[in-house]
Subunit: 361 residues, 2 copies
Amino acid sequence: MARVYNFSAGPAMLPEAVLQQAREEMLDWQGTGTCVAEMSHRGKAFVSIAERAEADLRALLGIPENYRVLFLQGGASSQFAMVPLNLLRGKGEADYVNTGTWSKKAIAEARRYCAVNVVADTLGEPLGRAPAQHELALSGERAAYVHYTPNETIAGVEFPYVPETGAVPLVADMSSTLLSRPIDVSRFGLIYAGAQKNIGPAGLTIVIVRDDLLGQPQAATPTMFDYKVHADADSMYNTPPTYAWYLAGLVFQWLRENGGLGAMAEINARKAALLYGTIDASDFYHNPVDPGSRSWMNVTFTLADPALDGRFLEEAAAAGLTALKGHRLVGGMRASIYNAMPESGVEALVAFMREFERRHG
Amino acid sequence: MARVYNFSAGPAMLPEAVLQQAREEMLDWQGTGTCVAEMSHRGKAFVSIAERAEADLRALLGIPENYRVLFLQGGASSQFAMVPLNLLRGKGEADYVNTGTWSKKAIAEARRYCAVNVVADTLGEPLGRAPAQHELALSGERAAYVHYTPNETIAGVEFPYVPETGAVPLVADMSSTLLSRPIDVSRFGLIYAGAQKNIGPAGLTIVIVRDDLLGQPQAATPTMFDYKVHADADSMYNTPPTYAWYLAGLVFQWLRENGGLGAMAEINARKAALLYGTIDASDFYHNPVDPGSRSWMNVTFTLADPALDGRFLEEAAAAGLTALKGHRLVGGMRASIYNAMPESGVEALVAFMREFERRHG
């Protein structure tokens, strides 16, 4: 079959150029006679791959020198525990913003380690929404850190701004937004992201952490959950997920060759505008998110008649537009349009949606 | 360059047939128009891949029904903490056998959670060696479990038997021996293995655990370190390392197509016998392990004149025999000859060793 436009929320589409290169190098990476997955992580070849990946990521995001970049395992779900285990540093409370399913999971895990102050909660509101800065009832320096989820993958709710938290470190679960546009890393104490949206395959987790926050884990923290252990060993305390790291490196190169995050931001803004514009121009489709908090990456929408959902998905798949089913918690549809989704994919989806409405609306 | 014989201890060689299939399917898995790395882990296609991998692994190892198979992240180093966090079940001590670097690391991490009884210690002995059953000073039911490392990857020391521990669950770090031959899983309470030796790429960890041991984690255990959470969710509590799982599944299929673990055991025994025989027949090469405890998987040897080490490695690499350098902690050479290393690779290594001795001995 021809390649499809795959709107999965993650694991998600990878750039075709990256897959092509991985295919070419599968049995022989650059004359070594081995696949990258077969290389010792401590050998020269893999170390060069690892270092280049980090350098490219640093260049893409403009990561300041006082931040460490870690290539870990375990996904955001592990970070939900690692953040309090490492960042409480003697304090007993932390501030969390609750904007959706992923915030809620982060809060539940943090509660096992500290008192959580929910400083804003929009999860129960009928329209998905990020709270404004003035709505955040921050605890000030009583809180060890402030945690938020810039983009809620399931509901498609995104913060249009970076919260101001003063001297309190800001921690962000950027799993589904990192690399979608430029960010000012210096605004954050710690950023984490599962790779399987904008970065690479599942099984790799990127952590970007300000170095002064390292080195004060709680007593019972498993060694593998101590950021400093990984930072001190350049993410090779144990065997890292080498092949995933390599694929992420290919994605970083592809981003740099295609104009970096500035170019991605323009393309992603156009893709989102086209899709939301199509939804808004129709009475048949509806997006349940406040217009000021709409995600660039995960566009959720419902059909006027939910009885047509199955047919929509079936006909879309037949047209090469796959994985549009919304998350089971919210239903409806979700089109995830990460960096690797070309504009032609969104154009094809919009054309299909208009045609489907014409026939069934 | 042509494919080389790669003797890396891990990440290690993968079967060429597996890499060929992965290459063919890179842009389009079985007519789906997507790479496996791009698939939602909850979609039908990936679930079928995941279920087949587990079924094949169960068939290969004859895993009884009262054991769960988990596909996790984090490597053996995470298991060093997960084992005590989950298996102490109210007890305050556990028995550990210390036979090498990996035992020692497991012990150090366990000491953070309980009293460790080192029931035998051969690490300091001049000749690497597994203690005999009668040397194990087991604590009986005071111990929550008995932990050992059937194969020490670094020194190349392997247990020639499975310890008898009565009613106390036996826990084994099988990272570098699982799938090398048939085992009786029912002898064990829990088996774990990083994938990057005999199973697949780094970033996947297999855990096989008897179901009655699940569900009593210590209070502060991170959710992601609770075996039962993963067991209840069929290893999909969060996004699993999907591409690594898929590659492991291809390895399991390859093993079944090639006669299963009985056939592997015969081939692996022949490979090890040829290599140890060559070493023993020479005054130039020396293996520092007790003959009764020699690893089938990691064959360590030294040259009579260590000044020739660099030359040996250089000439071997030029002959397409790579990654033979011993671990930095022990020096010398190490040839890891996991399932994916064909007999022709060991034959080529042995021919090279004889020729090198002829010229330099």
